[in-house]
């Protein structure tokens, strides 16, 4: 007990998303098809340029680092340049940093890897500059680009890359990882706690692990309450209750529930919208009404992004629900 106690306290001084980042490709969760192909590249020490596309927290960066670790072992950090395009965007980053890394000499390896994160944030001019650089240095550098939407990457670059699409992780994959970490850290997670983490994550492993670590700091047992509180997320049933009150025409009750979520629980308006959007199939409405709610949620989201007041937009959304059917 005391040993587990001290171990877990030690663990809390480290960020778990780094501590438990898979070191080898075979440890990367989900994406069996992708991992199999990447593994065969690595086994033959024969990489092409690659484009990883997919939402946050699905393993793009992790896979790139795992490739580097497998190829270069201890020296991986000397042979792996990570650039974040959204921090250092523009044509200069491609020209200068990439070129100097590509040109510097290095011992023993046929090529090095440049990982360009959030490549879709590069301007199209910078992408054009990149495309020729990729060919020019393909003798000694391989590029791995990552992006959320591959359609943001110009065609000539896509044509130069093998494209891998990372989809949101399955609930099972996230659940498994939560159990693994909880065991290694010696913390207790209740079943409803696991369900809550899976819900909060919505396919994003980073969110799940951060949620787990944060929740474990506040108490010895990670349960539903801890997870929802620490991640400022409304419980799915609270959202459903609020929406159903609105659908029944009880606007006052719905509004006071909204008020409680926004003020007492400190949940952001955008997150409430997001949760309504995710829960829509749980509501007791027909398909057409469900689609209309989705569209109406989008409308509120759009107006808030354009600078409208989120409380009024959310209230208007709830009020409009009474009109359906």
């Amino acid at each position: 007990m005391s040993e587990a106690e001290s171990e877990s306290r030690a663990g809390r001084e480290e960020v778990w998303i780094e501590k438990y980042r898979p070191q080898t490709l075979s440890e990367v969760a989900g994406h069996e098809g992708i991992i199999e192909r990447l593994q065969s590249y690595v086994d033959r020490n024969d990489l092409s340029h690659m484009l990883f596309s997919g939402p946050a927290g699905t393993g793009k960066t992790t896979s790139a680092m795992a490739i580097a670790r497998e190829l270069y072992g201890e020296d991986w950090q000397d042979n792996f340049l990570e650039l974040n395009a959204s921090d250092q965007r523009g044509i200069d980053v491609v020209r200068d940093r990439v070129k100097s890394f590509a040109r510097t000499s290095f011992g023993g390896y046929e090529y090095r890897i440049i990982f360009l994160d959030e490549a879709d944030a590069l301007t199209s001019e910078a992408q054009s500059a990149l495309r020729r650089t990729m060919e020019q240095f393909s003798n000694n550098v391989r590029f791995i680009l990552s992006c959320n939407y591959s359609s943001q990457i110009i065609d000539p670059i896509q044509s130069r890359c093998a494209v891998f699409r990372f989809s949101p992780l399955s609930d099972e994959a996230i659940e498994e990882q939560i159990h693994r970490i909880a065991e290694a850290e010696g913390i207790e997670v209740t079943d409803d706690g696991v369900d809550a983490l899976v819900y909060v994550a919505g396919g994003d492993m980073r969110k799940a692990i951060n949620g787990l670590q944060a929740a474990s700091v506040t108490g010895n047992v990670v349960d539903e309450d801890a997870v929802f509180e620490i991640t400022s997320t409304a419980r799915p049933e609270e959202i459903t209750a609020m929406v159903e009150q609105a659908l029944d025409g009880d606007f006052t009750a719905a509004r006071s529930e909204l008020d409680r979520l926004l003020t007492d629980q400190g949940i952001a308006g955008g997150d409430v919208l997001d949760q309504i959007h995710r829960s829509v199939w749980e509501f007791d409405v027909g398909d057409e009404a469900a689609v209309r709610i989705l569209d109406r949620v989008g409308e509120a989201d759009y107006r808030i992004t354009e600078g409208a007041n989120e409380r009024i937009q959310l209230e208007a959304l709830l009020a409009s629900l009474a009109l359906e059917e």
Binding site: E135, S151, A290, L294
Partner: protein
């Protein structure tokens, strides 16, 4: 190692799938001493433009000076390169003392980052005393001055027929057993992009020593749901939630997906169902517009909700039977007219500049009259005068008159127009030399004959439709059928736009 680099052709003879362009490039190099023009190679990604340029250099033994978008292409840099090129010409090395200047991505010289670059390139092209090759994806993105200063060679998409043998060669060299069907499918998947096909072959054979047709299918299907199965879910069977969830596995962007759905929904829906479905599609489209306007891609999900769940919800119950779904027809139309729209816009711009009207006025109020007056080049003098006044080339003259671009008639009109322009310049500068256009004009009149028998405008429109049909059947090769003086010349005429 990357196979696209490993198997990059080292001599021009190895450049595949663009024989015409290859020969034109070789001819350009052979006769460079006589004409001293620069050349621009243009075409889609992955068709072999850069490969051809380098292969040429190695054939001729010309050292290359390369200048691409990953180098800063400011005025200074370009002038330095031009200077280097000119200097090395005098230090006769390798006998000829030639140096080949290759400038990649010439359609991509940007105002801000490459200040003064565009003008410097134009002057490099005009003044460098060395052969210059410019490479571009989009010819019409290049400035007009640059376009006019260069000879043009178009690289077309590489046909499946030409891609397959390249893949076969690579398989033999890499000791990979293959089924022809597998290579055929890879080639088709990449429609025209040879580099993409080689990339796919490498990815699909990674870690194995054979490739069969099934491998290609499973390679694609693992990760993505087929679009046709998906259309079945949305249009025939699935409820709203299923339709939405299965859209996550379809490998199409919402911008493309909406066209797939909109084009196929009317095949199964009618009446109120159709109206409700289109209402949902219209809302989806509105979201796509907001994404474009704000560049906020998180709104894509609302577009997806409407076009998938919305369309599925508009249907009352399930539909049976089998429907032949097809790709959005507007795509093939767009592909067909893209070049034509550029031609139209160029002409309108020229007219607008010269006449001091707006471009849209030129298009609406002037071009239709010009088209009627110069129909099939019957009024030859007027056609020449028009071509001279608005600086039109053969494709432009062909567009307005409806006569084939490669016909002698159009070619001679363009030559005479050039002559006329030169004469005018000479007169304007008070120079009384050079004047011989009258005899030239007389010789060419006989070329007009075959055309005058038809003269019906409707034929041009019909032929455009027929062409769409044949494109759908996969015959895009119109080159061979180019006939002289035939009304059915495959040109999309001006009438399509009025």
């Amino acid at each position: 190692m990357d196979w696209t680099e490993k198997y990059r052709p080292t001599t021009l003879a190895e450049v595949r799938g663009n024989d015409k362009a290859r020969d034109a490039l070789e001819e350009w190099a052979e006769t460079w001493d006589d004409h001293r023009e620069a050349v621009v190679l243009h075409g889609s990604p992955g068709v072999g433009k850069t490969s051809a340029a380098h292969a040429l250099a190695s054939d001729k033994g010309w050292p290359t000076i390369e200048l691409n978008a990953s180098d800063a292409r400011t005025k200074d840099v370009i002038e330095r390169v031009a200077g280097e090129a000119a200097r090395s010409g005098t230090l006769s090395q390798g006998g000829s003392g030639r140096r080949l200047v290759i400038m990649d991505e010439a359609d991509n010289i940007h105002g801000n980052a490459d200040r003064g670059g565009t003008r410097a390139v134009t002057s490099l092209v005009k003044e460098a005393d060395q052969p210059v090759i410019l490479i571009a994806n989009d010819f019409y993105e290049m400035s007009k001055g640059l376009r006019n200063a260069c000879r043009e060679i178009e690289f077309r998409e590489v046909s499946t027929r030409s891609i397959v043998p390249v893949l076969r060669d690579i398989c033999r060299k890499e000791d990979i057993e293959f089924e022809d069907d597998a290579l055929q499918q890879i080639a088709e998947m990449n429609s025209g992009d040879l580099r993409g096909a080689i990339k796919d072959l490498q990815a699909l054979t990674e870690g194995r020593d054979s490739i069969a047709a099934e491998d290609v299918i499973t390679g694609k299907r693992d990760t993505t749901q087929g679009i046709f199965e998906y259309l079945d879910v949305v249009i025939k069977e699935g409820d709203a939630e299923t339709a939405l969830k299965s859209s996550y596995d379809v490998d199409e962007t919402p911008d493309d997906l909406i066209n797939w759905i909109a084009d196929n929904v009317p095949k199964d829906f009618e009446g109120t169902e159709l109206a409700r479905a289109y209402d949902a599609l219209a809302r989806a489209d509105q979201w796509l517009g907001r994404v474009r306007a704000t560049q906020n891609y998180s709104f894509w999900k609302y577009a997806g909700d409407n076009m998938t769940a919305g369309v599925a919800a508009a249907r009352g119950g399930q539909k049976g039977g089998w429907t032949r779904y097809g790709p959005p027809s507007y795509w093939s139309k767009l592909g067909r007219t893209k070049g034509t729209r550029k031609t139209r816009d160029y002409i309108a711009r020229q007219i607008a500049t010269r006449n001091g009207t707006s471009i849209s006025t030129a298009r609406r109020e002037i071009m239709p009259f010009l088209a009627t007056m110069t129909h099939h080049c019957k009024n030859r003098e007027l056609t020449i005068a028009m071509a001279a006044a608005y600086d039109l080339d053969a494709s432009h003259v062909s567009f307005i008159t409806g006569s084939g671009e490669d016909t002698n008639k159009v070619q001679s009109i363009v030559e005479d127009a050039q002559q006329l322009r030169d004469d005018e310049t000479a007169e304007a500068s008070g120079d009384a030399f050079a004047s011989r256009s009258d005899t030239d004009a007389a010789e060419d009149v006989s070329d007009d004959r075959p055309d005058e028998t038809d003269g019906q405008q409707s034929i041009a429109a019909d032929s455009a439709d027929q062409r769409t049909e044949s494109e759908r059947d996969g015959e895009t090769d119109n080159d061979d059928q180019q006939t002289e003086g035939d009304a059915d010349d495959g040109q999309t005429g001006l009438s399509d736009f009025m």
